[in-house]
Symmetry: C2
Subunit: 340 residues, 2 copies
Amino acid sequence: MAVVARLTGSDTQKDPNALDKLSKLCAADMARVNQLIVDRMQSDVPLIPELAGHLVAAGGKRLRPLLTLASARLCGYEGDKHIGLAAAVEFIHTATLLHDDVVDESDLRRGRETANAVWGNQASVLVGDFLFSRSFRLMVESESLRVLDILANASAVIAEGEVAQLITANDTATSEEDYLFVIRSKTAALFAAACEVGALVADHSTASTPALEQYGANLGIAFQLVDDYLDYAATDDSFGKGIGDDFREGKITLPVVLAMRRGTDEEHAFWKRTLESCEQQDGDLERAMEILKVREGLADTLIRARGYADTARAALADLPENDYRKALEDVVDFCVERAY
Amino acid sequence: MAVVARLTGSDTQKDPNALDKLSKLCAADMARVNQLIVDRMQSDVPLIPELAGHLVAAGGKRLRPLLTLASARLCGYEGDKHIGLAAAVEFIHTATLLHDDVVDESDLRRGRETANAVWGNQASVLVGDFLFSRSFRLMVESESLRVLDILANASAVIAEGEVAQLITANDTATSEEDYLFVIRSKTAALFAAACEVGALVADHSTASTPALEQYGANLGIAFQLVDDYLDYAATDDSFGKGIGDDFREGKITLPVVLAMRRGTDEEHAFWKRTLESCEQQDGDLERAMEILKVREGLADTLIRARGYADTARAALADLPENDYRKALEDVVDFCVERAY
């Protein structure tokens, strides 16, 4: 079902394991981050580490904390404050996932049962709150008010994006601008903050902090565009979520926004029935995928993703040319190439 | 239905409007806090201030931010950082209420429909996250890492208490110690932090900070004990929540813990049926109230509340004798006297 043809103008073949390469480069730091994550999710209330551990054990790419670690190292940082900040970033992300799953009423994430499916919504909300609070304690240890402000702001923006997504759900009149607001907020804000605080602990005085913030912001948008593409195009094997989740939940993502703009009256009626009225029947997902292909909603979503990816890569231009910079450049490709 | 007889040994008649007196004393500061609350709950996503405003407009006593304001003023503070911290404390409390209502599946709070009943659980979770994040931005403005650490820790402890409450719900084997852990965490931690950060912005060097922390912690326990008492004893007029809410939700509060300890086999079976199996029928709430009276679960809960109240008042002994100290002393009485 996945689009296998490469876009014309695509770069030369890139290592498909760019993320693995980044992980390897940051392995020593990441081991410390993982230990800190385990330490700081402990509580006298055993259900908390049990539930949080379920999500942590599920793994995932740990992309966001890797961005913090690599950003700090790229800027030549030799201290250890980036460890706590990377853990804080992952806690914010984990808390968001826990609350997302409650919000989405999801049963599966990364191929496993979600925490709310196992322990119920109530515990998921509260353990999310716990991790979120613990992330702030980790940030306080950085002793940087600027770092705290950046991450607190990112957290508020994520919540704004999630609420905006709730509002645009089931609304086929959602514009590309509305959609971009949602993904900038719910996804790109944390990517940007993760990079920015990494750069910030390394060096306050240079232009590297805004450069890495821009890198993260654009990478985050590209990442989410590809995610939304994959929801209609991935095979279950390559993609953590179930294919068609967004469709079933009536989420309005860019492929649909573009197809709506270009569609016939009959197609508009189809989207309104399936996504607004949520009256879905057998064969509707296949029909949706067919329309998205014909109207080039999928292909054009990828073209946009590549544009943001190029911008992300360009943001690194003035930074020191070292292994970390190379790894961050390659991660941009990974984020887009996973669509193929 | 309320217990009207005073306990023997009760203090001389106190002003029943001690909280109003405190509010009046802090009126100028509180007006600034209220304005800040309105300012900082704004967002480009209109649903956020709409939903948050519902809860804020519902009023409530604003006891926690008043504690921050009065603690700072008691210590002679003349700056304005206590304004932002009081707003932060109220935001944490409001976020907790929003998530609580999702967790409790409540329909009424302070006599109004809960936000989740109007806008759904999803929006309530996310707007809670938003307010929580905004509270941290407010704290950052205090430029005190110690303040940030205290409030971040309190937030984590609140979540722990709520999870512990989830675990003890429907478990009639809950001990008095288990119960105390829950209320220390879910209620007293924020009372303590609210007072502590008020003292802290005023003066780092004196013993007033630990004294006010102790005042808040003990006041918080007394407050929650009385709340749990009132759930079985209040008339709907005098109490914001619906009477018998805890009973219907199977929450195990101190009156029940004490009555279980002292009850007959037949009474144990009653509690197990109604609170563990949640098989409730007409007349059960009345029967519960009758048992709690006979086994002195209600009266002894109040006696304990008075003990913590006395400890709270005693914690103020070494602090400057001024109007703010007098008002905080009187608030202790208010918290207990509202039971009568």
